[in-house]
C-alpha cells in the first residue's frame, strides 16, 4: 500500500464528491421556472421578492452560488427553510436518526434471516427445500416494498391490530412501542433484501463448498454445521457484507415511500415535505447529503477491499 495509491484514491474521491454535489445543486437550479415565483406562488410584493432574491443570492452567478452553498455545507450550515426559518441542520438532527434506525434494523433483520437460509439452500442445493426457497425469494424480489407495506398494514395493523398502522415512537420514550412502530416498515423493506442476500450467499457458498479445504475439513470428520458456518461462511460473507453496506447507502434516502406510508419522520419524509413545499435550499442539501453518503460508503468499501486484496490496487 503505497502513499501514492492512497493519494490518488483521495483525489478521485474529492473529484467525485464535487461532481455529485454540483449535480445536486444544478438539479434544482436547472429546472425551469423562477424560484422566486415558485416560492411566492403569486402573493409577494416587490419588497418580499427582493428579499428572497437577496437571500438566495440570485443575482450572483451559478458557480459562485454553488461554492457559497458548498462552503456553508462544509461548515455545517445547510441553509434554512424559507417558510418557517428552521435550520436544515436542526431538522437533520431529528430526521437522520430515524432513517438510520430504519435502515439498520432492516439490515439486521434481513441478514439474520438470509444468512441461515443462504447457507442451508447452498448445502441442500437442488433439493425441494432449495427450490421452494428460491421460488419464494424470486417472488419477494418482485414484490415492490409499498405493495408489501399495504398488505402488511391491511393484515397486521388494520385486521389483527397487532401493530400500529403508522407513526413513530422514540426509543428512549418507550422501547416496546418503538419496536412495534418500526416492525411493519422494517418488514416491508427487509423482504426484498432477504431475497437478494439469500440468493447471493447461496451462489457464493456453492462455489466455496467445492474448495479443497472444505473437502479436507469434511475428511477430517468435522461436523457439517461447523464446516458450513465456520469454514465456508467466512469467505462467502465478504460479498454479502459489501452489498449490505451499499444498501445502507441506498436506503437512507431511498425509503421515501415507506417512511411516508408509515408516517416515520425520517429523511424520506423530510424530502417529501421539502419537495411539496418548494423548499429549494433544503431539498438540494438533502439530495447532496444522501449522494455524498452513498459515495463515501462506496469509497470506504472499495478502499477496504483494496487493503485486503492487493490485486484490486494494481488492477
Amino acid at each position: 500500500m503505497s502513499w501514492r495509491y492512497v493519494g490518488r484514491r483521495l483525489v478521485q474521491l474529492v473529484v467525485v464528491l464535487l461532481i455529485v454535489t454540483f449535480f445536486s445543486f444544478m438539479l434544482i437550479n436547472l429546472l425551469p421556472g423562477d424560484p422566486v415565483d415558485n416560492l411566492c406562488t403569486g402573493v409577494c410584493d416587490q419588497e418580499q421578492e427582493a428579499q428572497i432574491r437577496e437571500e438566495l443570492n440570485l443575482d450572483e452567478g451559478v458557480v459562485q452560488r454553488y461554492f457559497d452553498w458548498l462552503g456553508g455545507i462544509l461548515t455545517g450550515d445547510f441553509g434554512r427553510y424559507y417558510d418557517s426559518g428552521v435550520q436544515v441542520s436542526q431538522v437533520l438532527e431529528s430526521a437522520l436518526p430515524v432513517s438510520l434506525q430504519l435502515v439498520i434494523y432492516t439490515q439486521i433483520v434481513a441478514l439474520v434471516i438470509a444468512i441461515p437460509m443462504g447457507v442451508l439452500t447452498a448445502y441442500r442445493a437442488g433439493t425441494v427445500f432449495d427450490r421452494s426457497s428460491n421460488a419464494t425469494a424470486f417472488g419477494f424480489l418482485a414484490l415492490p416494498n409499498y405493495v408489501l407495506a399495504f398488505y402488511l398494514i391491511s393484515i397486521f395493523a388494520l385486521g389483527l391490530a397487532w401493530f400500529p398502522p403508522g407513526g413513530y415512537v422514540y426509543l428512549s420514550d418507550n422501547p416496546i412501542e418503538h419496536f412495534k412502530s418500526m416492525f411493519l416498515p422494517v418488514m416491508a423493506l427487509a423482504a426484498g433484501q432477504v431475497a437478494v442476500y439469500m440468493r447471493l450467499l447461496r451462489s457464493d457458498m456453492i462455489q466455496t463448498l467445492q474448495e479443497d479445504y472444505i473437502t479436507m475439513a469434511k475428511a477430517k470428520g468435522m461436523p457439517p454445521r461447523r464446516v458450513l458456518f465456520r469454514h465456508a461462511l467466512r469467505p462467502s460473507s465478504l460479498t454479502l457484507l459489501t452489498v449490505a453496506g451499499l444498501n445502507v447507502g441506498t436506503l437512507i434516502g431511498g425509503a421515501v415511500i415507506i417512511e411516508v406510508l408509515f408516517e416515520l419522520p425520517g429523511m424520506g419524509t423530510q424530502i417529501f415535505l421539502t419537495i411539496n413545499n418548494n423548499e429549494y435550499v433544503a431539498l438540494q442539501s438533502y439530495i447532496a447529503i444522501i449522494g455524498v453518503a452513498y459515495v463515501l460508503i462506496n469509497f470506504s468499501i472499495d478502499f477496504t477491499y483494496s487493503l485486503v486484496d492487493p490485486r484490486i490496487r494494481h488492477g
Binding site: V16, I19, V20, F23, S24, L27, I28, L31, P32, G33, N38, Y123, R124, A125, G126, T127, N134, F138, G139, L141, A142, L143, P144, Y146, V147, F150, Y151, I153, S154, L158, P165, R199, R202, S203, I206, Q207, L209, Q210, I214, K218, P224, V227, G253, G254, V256, I257, V260, L261, I271, F272, I275, N276, N278, L283, I287, I290, G291, Y294, V295, N298
Partner: protein
C-alpha cells in the same frame, strides 16, 4: 447421507448460479438442460398475464364492465362487483382496467426512450473505449449515485405534473440501467473477429456499431428492458403515492387516491397493488428467462 455436500459435478446445482463471472458455463449437462427446456408453465402463465394486461390497455374502454353503483360503495366483493367498489361506488375492476392504458403507455414510452438513450451511450462508450468510455460511464454512475426517486420527484414537481414530465423523470431513472448493460456487452463483442473483419473491410464506425454489434447486444438490452419496465411500473405507483404521479386514472393514482380510506375499505388499494405485483412478477420472470436463454451477464469486465 445428508452430510454429503452437493457439488456441480453431482448435477444437483441449478445452472444460473454456478456461472462464473468470466467464461461460459462449461458444464455440458446444464448447457444441454437449458437448450432442452421449452417455455415452462410459469413462463406461459407470465405471458398469459401480460396478454391480459395488454388487452386491458388496448380494448379496456370498450369492455362491458360494471358501471358505477352507489349501493355498492365501500363494499368488498359482491355479486356484480367481483372486486368490490371504492367509496363513491365505482367498481374496482372497472377502475383498474381504466388505469391500465396510462400506466402501460407510460412504461412503454419510458423504456423506448431509455433503450435509445442508454443504447447509444452504451454502444459509443463500449466501442470507442478510452476517454469517451470513462466520461460516459462516469455520467451513468453519477446518475445512479443521486437518489433516483427523489430526482424523479423533483423533476415532476418543478417542471409540472404532466404525462411527459413523469415520463422524462422515469427515463432518467431507467437509462443508466440500459446504458451499463449495453456498454458491458459492447465491450465483449467489439473484440470479436467479425467486428475486426468488418473494420478491415472498411466499414465506418456507425455501420460497425449498428450492423455488427447492435444485433448481438440486443438480447441483453431486451432482458434488462423487461426488468426496467417492471421498475417503471413500480415507480409510477411510487410517484403517485408521493403526489407527483400521473394525473389520469392509473394503477398508481388509484393507490394514491384510496390509501386514505384503507382503514374503512382496503379493496380499492389492494386491487391495483396486486395488479402491479402480478405484472412486475411476470416481467421479472420473463426477463430471467431471456437472460438465461441468451446467457446475458452484466459484469463482462
Amino acid at each position: 447421507m445428508a452430510d454429503e455436500i452437493p457439488t456441480v459435478a453431482d448435477g444437483a446445482v441449478e445452472e444460473r448460479f454456478v456461472e462464473t463471472v468470466e467464461g461460459l458455463p462449461t458444464d455440458p449437462e446444464h448447457v444441454k438442460a437449458r437448450r432442452r427446456r421449452g417455455l415452462g408453465l410459469t413462463a406461459w402463465l407470465a405471458l398469459g398475464w401480460l396478454a391480459v394486461v395488454a388487452l386491458m390497455a388496448i380494448i379496456g374502454p370498450y369492455l362491458p364492465l360494471p358501471e358505477r353503483d352507489v349501493s355498492c360503495a365501500r363494499e368488498g366483493p359482491a355479486a356484480g362487483h367481483p372486486l368490490g367498489c371504492d367509496q363513491r361506488g365505482n367498481d374496482n375492476l372497472t377502475l383498474v382496467v381504466e388505469g391500465t392504458r396510462p400506466t402501460i403507455t407510460l412504461a412503454v414510452a419510458v423504456i423506448a426512450g431509455a433503450m435509445i438513450l442508454g443504447g447509444i451511450a452504451g454502444l459509443v462508450a463500449g466501442y470507442f473505449r478510452g476517454r469517451t468510455d470513462t466520461a460516459l460511464t462516469n455520467v451513468l454512475n453519477i446518475m445512479l449515485a443521486l437518489p433516483q426517486l427523489v430526482l424523479a420527484m423533483a423533476i415532476v414537481r418543478f417542471m409540472g405534473q404532466t404525462f411527459w414530465n413523469v415520463a422524462l423523470a422515469l427515463v432518467i431513472v431507467a437509462t443508466p440501467l440500459l446504458g451499463r448493460i449495453t456498454r458491458a456487452n459492447t465491450l465483449t463483442f467489439s473484440e470479436r473477429e467479425f467486428v475486426l473483419a468488418a473494420k478491415t473491410l472498411g466499414a465506418k464506425h456507425g455501420r460497425v456499431m449498428v450492423r455488427e454489434i447492435l444485433p448481438n447486444v440486443l438480447p441483453a438490452m431486451f432482458s434488462i428492458a423487461l426488468l426496467a419496465i417492471a421498475i417503471v411500473i413500480v415507480a409510477e405507483g411510487g410517484l403517485a403515492i408521493l403526489n407527483v404521479g400521473l394525473t389520469e386514472t392509473s394503477w398508481g393514482t388509484l393507490i394514491a387516491e384510496n390509501r386514505g380510506q384503507l382503514r374503512r375499505n382496503p379493496w380499492p388499494v389492494i386491487v391495483p397493488v396486486t395488479v402491479i405485483f402480478f405484472t412486475v412478477l411476470a416481467f421479472n420472470y420473463l426477463g430471467d428467462v431471456v437472460r438465461e436463454r441468451f446467457d446475458v451477464r452484466e459484469s463482462a469486465l
